[in-house]
């Protein structure tokens, strides 16, 4: 009998990460699309770091930060009672940092593609920034939002190195599908590894297929 818990855990992690990242990324991407601040290049570089950095590097630093011996880890443990190393909460934080560019960059591109007179028209009509973002800008960058959500979800499903570093291999806690596959292959249990891999392949392909079908449709209708 197949153990479904790694699959459920993976989907949970991907869903929670995507929701939190969406909420964080909207204001961040709006700021990045409109700001002329001097620190903007620094923020942009930081956001994009996970694209080029090996996940193990990120995982290594997070592991050190989360450890109860470090200042941050000790603070979280003493004040909030949070133990982030080798826990699901730690995985969520790791995934958020790791998938940040996949959500922020499509949203930033979406915001930048809208003419600035659109938000100016809204400001002149007395509407606040919040109202302008939620009622005018977001509804007009639906495609970028969909891209951001799907890429974030799929990228989180596929993460491995960072989970291995900060999560380890604890069933129902940190043992996501990618880790489970590695585990099964190591113990020469190829048939289970096949099933997990097949499911992962099918799910991610189906998601991407839906996105591209949708993209092609909206391209046709706007012509």
């Amino acid at each position: 009998m197949l153990d479904w818990s790694p699959i459920i855990l993976t989907l949970q992690l991907a869903l929670i990460t995507t929701v939190i990242l969406f909420v964080i990324s909207i204001p961040l991407a709006y700021w990045m699309a409109n700001s002329k601040s001097r620190i903007k290049p620094i923020i942009e570089a930081l956001v994009s770091l996970p694209l080029v950095l090996p996940p193990t590097v990120l995982g290594f630093y997070l592991l050190i930060a989360f450890s109860p011996e470090s200042a941050i880890g000790a603070f979280l443990n003493d004040v909030f009672g949070l133990k982030l190393a080798f826990s699901f909460a730690g995985l969520v934080i790791g995934s958020i940092i790791y998938s940040l560019p996949f959500m922020v960059q499509p949203l930033q591109a979406g915001f930048s593609s809208l003419p600035s007179s659109l938000s100016e028209a809204s400001f002149v009509l007395g509407k606040s920034k919040y109202q302008t973002i939620t009622k005018v800008l977001i509804p007009n960058i639906k495609k970028s939002i969909l891209t951001g959500i799907v890429l974030t979800f799929a990228h989180t499903v596929g993460e491995f190195g960072i989970v291995l570093m900060i999560g380890g291999n604890i069933p129902n806690q940190t043992k996501v599908v990618s880790i489970a596959i590695y585990d099964e292959v190591e113990s020469l249990n190829y048939s289970t590894a096949h099933v997990y891999s097949g499911i992962l392949l099918a799910v991610t392909f189906a998601i991407l297929l839906l996105v591209y079908i949708n993209n092609n449709r909206s391209n046709k209708s706007s012509k």
């Binding site: 003419p115 007179s117 100016e120 809204s122 002149v124 005018v136």
Partner: protein
């Protein structure tokens, strides 16, 4: 009374220059800001609306200070309550025509104004359509209606008609005049079209390289004197035909072809395609009420 004293350094392709404008406008006036492109016309509207920051000076509207550099007062665009019609219309693509107007409502404002505007600007048939399905002229009307929803005192029009063809232009000019009078607005129009400025405005500010070259009534500016008993219209020479001792000159003016007799001396100065001014002595004109305006007085 609207008092404007603007000073802003502008960067342009032709090099940096200073926008330095100072003028006082009476309430209810239709003001045209006229000048070649790159003279800073649009920037003036943006400064009045608060969309661009000026370097120094002040803007005060009916004794309320909107901007004052020395006292660091700068009202946000949200608080200035102006109607702004952008050059690219800037309708919200995700909303229908009616939703675009409803979005513009103030909190708690009655929806009556929406129906009134839909009627005045004749949008009834378009109200459930999305902006992408509208023609340029229709979008323009929606943008005009949307700018009026909050009943602003000041209406800012940024070359609203530049993308439209002749007949549509005329019609929209009529809508703009109608709205201007009905809602008792002070209107600022940016334009580089003399006939448009002539038709609409009662005060013209002529800009060059960021400063006021001339200002006054359209007649004063473009004709150089106050007119009496004369009507002047502008046009383009289509053809000059010698006929016995005179010449018959055909002139295109506001979509009408006017035939004028010219002496050989007069015709010698003219050639086809010349921009001309025709002055008609109006000692016995036929005058009639314009039926297009009778519904709303």
């Amino acid at each position: 009374m609207i008092e404007i004293d603007i000073h802003k350094r502008l960067l342009s392709t032709a090099g940096d220059f200073n926008l330095k404008i100072s003028c006082a406008i009476n309430e209810g006036q239709f003001v045209s800001i006229f000048g070649s492109s790159g003279a800073g016309k649009t920037t003036i509207l943006r400064l009045i609306a608060g969309l661009t920051q000026q370097d120094s000076g002040f803007i005060s509207v009916n004794n309320t200070i909107w901007f004052d550099a020395t006292n660091s007062i700068n009202l946000s665009p949200q608080k200035r309550k102006v109607g702004f019609v952008f050059q690219d219309y800037s309708l919200f693509p995700n909303m229908t025509v009616k939703e675009n107007l409803e979005f513009a409502l103030n909190k708690g404002q009655s929806k009556d104004i929406i129906n009134e505007l839909i009627e005045t600007i004749e949008l009834t048939d378009l109200q459930d359509r999305k902006p992408e399905t509208l023609s340029g002229g229709q979008k323009q009307r929606v943008a005009l209606a949307r700018a009026m929803v909050q009943k602003p005192n000041i209406l800012l029009l940024d070359e609203p008609l530049s993308a439209l063809d002749g007949e549509m232009r005329n019609k929209l000019q009529d809508y703009i005049l109608k709205v201007h009078k009905k809602y008792n607005l002070t209107t600022f129009l940016v334009s580089h079209d003399i006939s448009e400025v002539f038709k609409l405005s009662d005060h013209v500010i002529k800009l060059e390289n960021g400063s006021i070259l001339q200002q006054g009534t359209p007649e004063e500016l473009f004709l150089g004197k106050k007119t009496t008993g004369k009507h002047t219209t502008l046009g383009t020479v289509l053809s000059i035909q010698p006929s016995d001792i005179i010449n018959i000159v055909k002139v295109l003016s506001n979509n009408n072809i006017i035939v004028v007799n010219a002496t050989n001396e007069e015709a010698a100065n003219l050639s086809e395609g010349d921009k001309v001014m025709i002055t008609l002595k109006t000692f016995n004109p036929v005058i009639q009420k314009d039926l297009r305006y009778t519904q709303d007085g």
